[in-house]
């Protein structure tokens, strides 16, 4: 444990006693903080049945479950689209043809730099007359944004494939497209699995932005609930809990996929683990 950090030596008996003291103080501090929070909630009538009743009423549990499914469905659509978009533009950024490379560069850099909400509002307004509804604009914007981030990821992954692999593939007579398709891309995807999973979590969190255009999903359903029962804090806390559970499940799924589907981690994996920051 202490051998894994450069910051401090293995503790001796005195240091261990000191650490225990600090640990105890931390626990006391946290217990006091929790007590203060509960007292605050209690004294402001936030812990009453009429604020929380709705979350153990079967009809509303069903409503929330349906909203969760909507959110997951939107996230799944966006991630699937973003993966396709990412592969196409990631490969295009490495194209031998200058115009293709430039076009891909402009598209990817633009959609990566623009705030997602700005994009959602634009697509929603722009498509307003076409009666696309609210889910399609949300999914389109999510695909453009996450797809552009993934394009960069794929490009980095393709570049991380050892050069010898490509040279060997050319040497046995494969064409350019075949080298990309059956040598570079599969290895790039394997190298980049952790980064791809992180981006999936980002996409899942970003589905909450459907709130702005009232697209189906957890946040919009939450809005309906608190407008009916006037329990904004309780609803927001429940939404946060649902999202945390979903994301932790996705993280666990990612770790599992990393171990069992893609095999062992390649030696020069550039990407961060799913549990590390992706600057969402």
């Amino acid at each position: 444990m202490s051998a894994s950090t450069v910051l401090y030596d293995a503790p001796g008996p005195k240091a261990r006693a000191r650490y225990r003291l600090f640990g105890l103080l931390t626990v006391i501090g946290i217990v006091l903080l929790l007590a203060a929070v509960i007292w605050r909630l209690w004294s402001r009538d936030q812990l009453t049945a009429d604020k929380w009743e709705v979350f153990y009423t079967p009809r509303y549990i069903e409503l929330l479950a349906r909203a969760t499914l909507d959110t997951l469905w939107i996230a799944a659509l966006s991630i699937a689209g973003a993966l396709v978009f990412g592969v196409i533009f990631g490969v295009a950024k490495l194209s031998d043809h200058l115009p293709v490379r430039w076009f891909a560069w402009v598209i990817v850099e633009f959609f990566r730099a623009v705030p997602l909400l700005l994009l959602i509002i634009f697509v929603w307004f722009y498509a307003y007359d076409t009666r696309l509804g609210t889910i399609a604009p949300l999914v389109i914007a999510l695909i453009l944004y996450n797809g552009s981030v993934l394009a960069e990821t794929f490009r980095a992954g393709i570049n991380a494939v050892p050069k010898g692999q490509v040279e060997a593939a050319f040497a046995v007579g494969l064409r350019k497209s075949a080298v990309m398709r059956i040598v570079q891309l599969p290895q790039a995807i394997k190298i980049m699995t952790p980064a791809i999973i992180s981006q999936c979590i980002v996409a899942l969190k970003d589905t909450s932005l459907g709130y702005y255009i009232l697209a189906a999903g957890l946040t919009t359903t939450g809005r309906e609930i608190w407008r009916t029962f006037d329990n904004r804090l309780a609803t927001a806390l429940v939404l946060a809990a649902i999202y945390i559970v979903l994301n932790l499940l996705l993280t666990a799924l990612g770790r599992w996929a990393e171990r069992h589907i893609t095999g062992a981690r390649p030696p020069q994996a550039l990407a961060d683990k799913p549990g590390q920051p992706t600057a969402a």
Binding site: V6, G23, P115, Y126, T219, R232, T235, N247, P277, A279
Partner: protein, 216 residues
């Protein structure tokens, strides 16, 4: 182009508001994130656990839901610093979890051998920290920290949902008034954000160049 000539002042004010959000929530994130990062790498196991809990909670909650909690929820229990600060609090706490991870990854990026070598030549703890470990960690922290702040710049747009008259909010208003020029308005506002992002990455690059190692 009359949307621009007639409204440039209100657009600039919108970006001013965006920068205010960025500054306030960025400061909260930097201070809080550094504190949590110190706890995260501390030798006290319980402090580390608390820091992990903080990061897990705030990184896995969507920013929008956090703003719902601070904007709608906190006033219900009597904690109300005004909507602007309450929104910045949510953004600060959300971003703090990413700052923590950026700083931690910087510390972890310093090779173990560096500290061992420092100890082997007889440096005491304070000296090996200040002369060997921290300078290298700082250099490794700059690029991920820059991308955290770039992400924060884009996330400030969420304040538009709650009626803060920042750049995204202004764009929505312009969409209503100049429906035929929607694409140009979108590109214009996007360009503003891109400029802010460019300045942040320029500062990060300058930092990196200033502290670059010429050896190797």
């Amino acid at each position: 182009m009359d949307w621009l000539t007639d409204n440039w002042l209100s657009i600039l004010r919108g970006f001013g508001e965006t920068l205010k959000l960025l500054g306030l929530s960025g400061a909260i994130a930097l201070v809080l994130g550094t504190l949590v990062a110190l706890a995260r790498v501390s030798p006290v196991p319980i402090l580390r656990g608390v820091a992990i809990g903080f990061v897990t909670i705030f990184r896995n909650t969507p920013l929008l839901v956090l703003i719902l909690i601070t904007y709608y929820g906190l006033p219900e229990v009597g904690i109300d610093f005004g909507f602007f600060i309450n929104i910045s609090l949510a953004m600060g706490f959300y971003t703090a979890s990413f700052v923590t991870e950026a700083i931690r990854s910087g510390f972890n990026g310093v090779p173990l051998g560096q500290a061992e070598a420092a100890r082997a030549i007889g440096m005491p703890f304070t000296q090996s920290m200040s002369q060997v470990v921290l300078p290298q960690a700082f250099r490794l922290v700059v690029p991920p920290l820059a991308s955290v702040f770039i992400a924060l710049t884009k996330n400030t747009s969420l304040a538009a949902t709650f009626g803060v008259a920042e750049a995204t909010y202004r764009m929505r208003g312009l969409f209503n008034d100049y429906a035929s020029q929607m694409i140009f308005i979108f590109l214009g506002i996007a360009l503003g954000y891109i400029l802010i992002v460019a300045v942040i990455s320029w500062i990060a690059t300058a930092f990196e160049r200033r502290f670059a190692v010429n050896a190797r």
